[in-house]
């Protein structure tokens, strides 16, 4: 029986009761500290106010740019079982903090190099379907030729690239702007 994809509906204001059990803000299980990175950021709405009820889901490759495919069971190339899934909710100030393994550059289905990135879904009240975006790493040489970044208008590309934290703990900062001058690039997935 064929059919059409079931429509998306918003997660509403109370999704945390359904999603909290699988919250996973630290994806680094088993990885050595020098390969890990902390990413902090804020989610802001169209009035430049922080969004206190957003949730980010992360999907990413391991340090060698490979994904935890169903067929690939057992030891990962780096000797640990990196899973690649994260789920983190923002706090009342719209802030999130994520710790993960820095992904490696990967090879795409067309054989081209994909710059290291996190694939990100964003859910919240007011979104009838998830937002899809990506976070790239500052200064990575593969960014210049990445097939996805290349499709993004140059003046908006910076919204997808994290910046180095200037204060606080070492790491990266990546903010999400739902609207406005700095509106983050969102993808038609």
């Amino acid at each position: 029986m064929n059919g059409r994809t079931t429509p998306s509906q918003t997660v509403g204001p109370f999704f945390s009761i359904g999603f909290a059990w699988l919250e996973r803000a630290d994806l680094t299980t088993g990885a050595s500290a020098d390969k890990c990175v902390t990413i902090c950021g804020r989610v802001m709405d169209g009035t430049a106010q922080p969004v206190p009820d957003a949730l980010l889901e992360i999907w990413q490759a391991d340090g060698t740019g490979r994904y935890a495919l169903r067929e690939e069971t057992g030891a990962r190339p780096e000797g640990h079982s990196f899973f690649g899934f994260g789920r983190v909710a923002v706090n009342e100030a719209g802030e999130f903090r994520l710790r993960t393994l820095r992904p490696g550059a990967g090879i795409g289905p067309d054989g081209a190099v994909c710059a290291p990135h996190l694939a990100i879904s964003i859910f919240m009240r007011g979104l009838l379907k998830r937002l899809v975006t990506r976070m790239y790493f500052p200064g990575d040489p593969a960014n210049d030729t990445d097939a996805v970044l290349s499709r993004v208008p140059a003046r908006r590309r910076h919204t997808l690239v994290a910046r180095l934290a200037e204060t606080g703990e070492p790491g990266l900062v990546w903010d999400v702007h739902l609207q406005g001058d700095q509106e983050t690039v969102f993808f038609d997935c």
């Binding site: 429509p7 709405d45 169209g46 999907w59 054989g111 996805v148 993808f187």
Partner: protein, 234 residues
């Protein structure tokens, strides 16, 4: 490489737009810039495959998660998850959450003047089986007021979260109940322009799902995006 043929886009009108002005919360949260078309890379073609032992066997029965039975009308909600080509989506994680029978969520932000039920958490998880079938036992959720417009009430609904085989197939939706008079005025339900697609969010009362002398049954089949017929061109 058939596995990496990519996923079809939904038919026009069968998914909501981000901006749907009758749903007031969408005004300050919907993107205003055009979306950028994403070539499918392995980031979209793969996705988390959760181990089945992640979920406790009791997690699919929301009437047995506390010391006593929750108040309300006990129901079974079951169905099949399949892709657009009718292939079962097997061993796939489903999460649900909902209000209690009085229309109140166990959430600090829910200030609706309706009682909490100490025996109802309103949260469940299950995996589909080898045929893509799933089954939850729960309580029929109550309708509740919200502030979207004067005298706004959400129709009774259960939130469903599905992953499917890939990042591209992630879906969060809501299941509604047949014959609910609140559906006609609900801006979230009516954000789906295509009538047939919209009505696919309404479960069917189903004798086969009913448990005699125990619980009425509702069938809610869920369809995830289907793979493209031909492998993606380089």
């Amino acid at each position: 490489m058939d596995r990496f043929a990519g996923y079809r886009k939904p038919a026009p009108g069968t998914q909501p737009e981000y901006l749907h002005p009758p749903y007031v919360s969408s005004l300050k949260r919907a993107p205003t810039q055009p979306l950028v078309a994403l070539p499918e890379t392995f980031s979209e073609l793969t996705g988390p495959i959760f181990p089945k032992n992640l979920v406790d066997a009791k997690a699919c029965d929301l009437t047995r998660q506390s010391n006593g039975p929750p108040l309300g009308e006990r129901i079974v909600v079951g169905g099949q998850v399949r892709d657009e080509d009718g292939r079962p989506v097997r061993d796939s994680l489903i999460e649900i959450w909902q209000a209690n029978a009085a229309g109140r969520y166990l959430h600090a932000g829910d200030q609706h003047d309706a009682p909490l039920d100490p025996n109802f958490l309103g949260v469940g998880q299950a995996f589909t089986n080898a045929s893509g079938q799933y089954r939850f036992v729960t309580i029929r959720p109550g309708a509740y007021p919200w502030k979207n417009h004067p005298n706004a009430w959400r129709p009774q609904h259960i939130h469903f979260s599905l992953f499917g085989p890939a990042f591209a197939t992630r879906l969060v939706t809501q299941m509604y109940f047949p014959g609910d008079p609140l559906l006609a005025s609900d801006p979230i339900f009516n954000s789906v322009a295509d009538e047939a697609a919209r009505n696919s969010l309404v479960a069917n009362f189903d004798w086969a799902t009913t448990i005699p002398e125990l619980a009425l049954g509702f069938r809610f089949d869920i369809i995830l995006r289907g793979p493209n017929a031909t492998p993606m061109e380089p």
